[in-house]
């Protein structure tokens, strides 16, 4: 359940941002989570409710943007949708690929007041 650590990290980032902006609370938080980031969204949501109690995120609207996985084949150069880390290039069946999108794990924006 490393998702709990991730949520605690988000709470920490939110608390620091609120303090720095001289605000009191977070109205809305926008997260970016890549398909290949190693995060289970269900587990994250489960951890979320427990971890945000009595924090600046307690009443925040949560907006999660899922970023689809994309890779480039290091053999033929084909760019393709990668849903699992072991997906081969659909053109030449090569497993040596460079992930170009989908590892994101970010707090993108916060609306504070």
């Amino acid at each position: 359940m490393h998702e709990l650590s991730i949520v605690l990290g988000i709470v920490d980032i939110a608390a620091t941002t609120v303090q720095k902006a001289n605000a009191h609370t977070v109205d809305r938080i926008e997260l970016e989570i890549g398909e290949l980031a190693g995060i289970e969204t269900d587990a994250l949501l489960f951890a979320w409710d427990a971890a945000i109690k009595n924090t600046v995120l307690a009443r925040a609207i949560r907006d999660i943007r899922h970023v689809p996985g994309k890779a480039r084949c290091l053999d033929c150069g084909e760019v393709f949708d990668m849903h699992e880390l072991y997906d081969p290039c659909p053109k030449c069946n090569n497993y040596l690929n460079e992930i170009i999108q989908g590892r994101e794990l970010k707090v993108k924006a916060l609306t504070v007041s």
């Binding site: 650590s5 991730i6 990290g9 980032i13 809305r28 497993y95 040596l96 924006a109």
Partner: protein
């Protein structure tokens, strides 16, 4: 309970114990996060409809943060990495499911190599100093991290454990992570290399069931090969799955209990150790 984040970790959740000295470092409120002030590297852009007056506002402001959630862990991991490089310490992060034989592998490795290499150990478990006590029997300096409810080590825990361990220059530091094939994958500790261990009593499809761990590893040790006649584990199938996730992964098949195959692992350790001292990375 932590008053800032509201999590349910008790104040003494993470503890670090140096075996043999009766010392006990209570980390107090310190899990995957802390409440330190903003990193100096951030800049963020406000674009709310309302102005803030002397930084005091009652109106909503949107801040485009674009901050990596793991940034704090990654920054501290790089600090650990710099410390290891300066002291020419090759740190290896050993990851696996519980019961794959990480501690047994370390025990035999230390006993067989202690004349050739200086080896120190950080043990990670949720509870007890059982593993660190076993390592202490070999004579190697060892520190136990107990993560409480935590399912992985992070760079902050390792930073504090290293300070307590104070490993000598030109040594090998083995960091045995919490037995868990999922969570430790995301957390860089500042290690020079990552070694994933699977045992033949597990399923040979582990590499594609838990791909993140195999994706981030440099080496895969297949342990308990003395049991191969009694289990349906297909070594070639396991390797082929692991290579789908990570085509550059290398493998050693060993029995940490009886010693088969350990020579190749020792050669690898010695070669990587020498390479790391010269080039600050493994190959």
């Amino acid at each position: 309970m932590c008053s800032t984040c509201g999590c349910n970790q008790p104040a003494d959740a993470v503890t670090i114990t140096r075996i043999g000295e009766g010392l006990h470092l209570d980390l107090g409120h310190n899990h995957a996060h802390s409440h330190a002030p903003f990193s100096a590297h951030h800049h963020h852009h406000h674009h709310g409809e309302e102005h803030t007056h002397n930084g005091h506002s009652h109106h909503a402001v949107t801040i485009e943060l674009e901050q990596d959630i793991l940034q704090k862990n990654n920054l501290l991991a790089q600090r650990n990495r710099g410390y290891f490089e300066a002291k020419r310490i090759l740190a290896l992060n050993l990851v696996s499911s519980p019961g794959s034989g990480k501690t047994a592998l370390l025990e035999r490795t230390i006993n067989d190599l202690k004349q050739d290499l200086s080896i120190a150990v950080i043990e990670g478990d949720q509870q007890t100093t059982h593993d660190a006590d076993r390592i202490a029997q070999t004579g190697a300096p060892v520190v136990q991290i107990n993560t409480g409810k935590g399912c992985h080590l992070d760079s902050d825990m390792v930073h504090k454990a290293v300070r307590k361990l104070d490993p000598p220059n030109d040594s090998l530091l083995m960091i045995e992570n919490v037995g868990n094939l999922v969570c430790p994958a995301l957390f860089d500790l500042g290690e020079g290399g990552r070694v994933v261990i699977i045992s033949v009593t597990e399923g040979d499809d582990k590499p594609i069931k838990y791909p993140d761990m195999f994706f981030s590893a440099n080496l895969c040790i297949i342990n308990k090969i003395d049991l191969l006649p009694y289990v349906p584990f297909d070594v070639e199938k396991a390797k082929s799955y692991a290579l789908q996730v990570n085509p550059q992964l290398r493998f050693f098949e060993v029995s940490a209990l009886h010693g088969q195959g350990m020579d190749k692992w020792y050669d690898w350790l010695k070669t990587q150790f020498a390479h790391f001292r010269d080039y600050q990375h493994i190959h």
